[in-house]
Subunit: 366 residues, 2 copies
């Protein structure tokens, strides 16, 4: 990685704003960016053993949560800062805001600071679609989206591009959110069906994506809504005390997760006993475990991707935006770390010392 | 905190570079900045119970360590990113580089991103001097500094300003580092005595500061160097496998720490059994525990501040640089979080959608 930081004169760090990431999307188009993100995440999931993995570090408060999500593959280190504050709308702020850092493990130098609010929505959608590509029926063409907030358009775009979904059936308790999603999907040329209830939206759907924001143990999906062969992409149940699926939905399904120790705490399976069987997704991708069964049995199996968002996905996303930005010449350089002619002389940064205390000098007499 | 983020139009974040922090130092003078930092740290230590406290999250590699240090008082949340890479000199990079973030707990909005390389050196020195003010003999006037690297000038300046130290006795195995420190101290008008060994430097010193960088269990200070009434400010032993004091030095002294669970892992006391008695510094500051004993007994007591650096000190430092920068009109505004007219419409950031997939529209028929 030494080549990388000598390219940054004076140890400068690349900084990407939300506008820079929008420019990446405009340069390549959203479908290609989502496909690239899915490929980066899949590449990193396939070298799972190389990563330092630990559950995120969360600071909970009455209004929400602030989390740090670090990981490293031994060459690069990344972390994401992300909050979740359901009441942020009243302040004109997003519920979820995020930024991240990518650093060189050999020196600790931060190489990149990037927005991750927009990027998280894209990497979550890309990961969901990558998982569905491995777990859903290959003939899946319709998807219900329950919860039509900030991330829903990205989910739809990723499933259209990566899984081949052709019809989106929308429901949210906030009808204006659904109207916004339908408008945005139609602007992308996607089929949007506005539905009056979760039951109506899920009826006949091949895939059900739940991406609601309430910080409570809700039961969005009940067993009577489940149809043979369905794949459930459960995205919104992602912190302690926040679930979306009825326990019987989980019991009736084969359940796949990102990183089991974290999902046991944060995912929908937090309501299940510790021995409840789950499979880590990387095992399916690598062929170490079976996803949906082959043949007729597989056609009626119900699969669940109990997604909570894992640090390796942000690692992949930070790699992607850095490479895309360097290729396109996007971003700016910021002074996060001081350039030092003599690394042991940090004090020299202060230049002329402005205030003196004494003036006597002495030599060693010890 | 709502006043604070409405002041940042479009959810912009204040960004402070090393140059901005240098400007704060130039505006007030280093002694006043160190005294202010010590006061901020002391204020926060005195409301110890209000803080979320957890040991730092470390990622170790063969070349060094990268750490995240989060904390919160329920109103503000901060974290520091900091590395420790002893071999960084060969790349022209500091051994320790750091930056930090201060955020609003109520919304999760990042209010400040700041350099903390220079600031960490100042907050560490301010904390050391604040501890020595509470623990060393009040007539202490000479201090040995063992390890004359990047942080040593700041230690000297803080002890001169806050503790009243008048003579600094310097030793480092790197004679050029000592020459640099002596030159910098003399430029500040401080007495610098260059010594040929640790033994020579510590002889007759009232306070001994150890701030060496080797990542190993070294024995810098041995029992024969200890004199009655000495205070030892042990700063360099700050991660697993890195110590500076002989175990018998600790046994012969009263030992004070920042946050006991972290220091048991990272401090010089990592070599002691779990039942080895230590006192958290905040207890001394608040009067809940006794520091150095009063009267004649206290004059001969040996005290050790086994300092590893704790997240609350960075919280205090981030509070200080933010308030100082806002007062002086320093820093710039960066777009870390996207401004959204409708927080549920993150997708609107992308503006016109560049690539379409389909065009059929439909209405609900469920």
């Amino acid at each position: 990685m030494f080549q990388n930081h000598t390219a940054l004169t004076n140890a400068q760090t690349l900084f990407l704003t939300p506008s820079d990431v929008v420019s990446i999307v405009h340069a390549h188009g959203l479908p290609k960016v989502l496909a690239a993100l899915a490929a980066y995440v899949q590449d990193d999931f396939l070298r799972w053993a190389q990563f330092d993995k630990s559950p995120r570090v969360a600071a909970h408060s009455p209004s929400g949560v602030i989390e740090l999500m670090p990981t490293s593959d031994g060459e690069l280190y990344t972390f994401k800062y992300v909050n979740g504050h359901p009441g942020n709308g009243q302040f004109g702020l997003p519920t979820v805001m995020a930024f991240g850092v990518l650093a060189d493990v050999a020196t600790g130098l931060p190489l990149l600071v990037s927005e991750l609010t927009l990027t998280t929505a894209m990497r979550t959608a890309a990961t969901s679609a990558m998982a569905a590509k491995a777990l859903a029926r290959s003939d899946a063409r319709s998807m219900a989206i329950i919860g039509n907030g900030a991330q829903s358009e990205f989910q739809a775009a990723a499933f259209a591009q990566i899984v081949g979904i052709r019809e989106f059936r929308l429901f949210d308790i906030d009808v204006q959110a659904t109207a916004k999603l339908a408008r945005n999907l139609r602007a992308m040329g996607l089929d949007a069906v506005i539905c009056g209830s979760t039951r109506e939206a899920t009826r006949g759907a091949d895939i059900v994506t739940t991406i609601t924001a309430d910080k409570s143990c809700a039961t969005i999906i009940t067993p009577d809504m489940i149809e043979p062969g369905m794949h459930i992409n459960a995205v919104g149940g992602d912190c302690p005390g926040k679930t979306e699926l009825h326990a019987d939905v989980l019991r009736a399904a084969r359940v796949f997760v990102e990183f089991e120790p974290q999902t046991r705490i944060e995912g929908d399976i937090q309501q299940m006993p510790p021995e409840f069987d789950v499979t880590e997704l990387w095992r399916v991708l690598s062929g170490a475990s079976i996803g949906r069964s082959k043949g007729a049995a597989g056609q009626s199996e119900v699969t669940v991707f109990d997604s909570v968002g894992f640090a390796i996905e942000d690692f992949s996303a930070l790699r992607f935006v850095r490479e895309a930005a360097l290729e396109l010449g996007l971003g700016s350089r910021i002074d996060l770390v001081p350039p030092l002619a003599d690394p042991k002389n940090l004090f020299a940064l202060l230049g002329e010392v402005p205030a003196t205390l004494h003036s006597r000098r002495s030599v060693c007499y010890g």
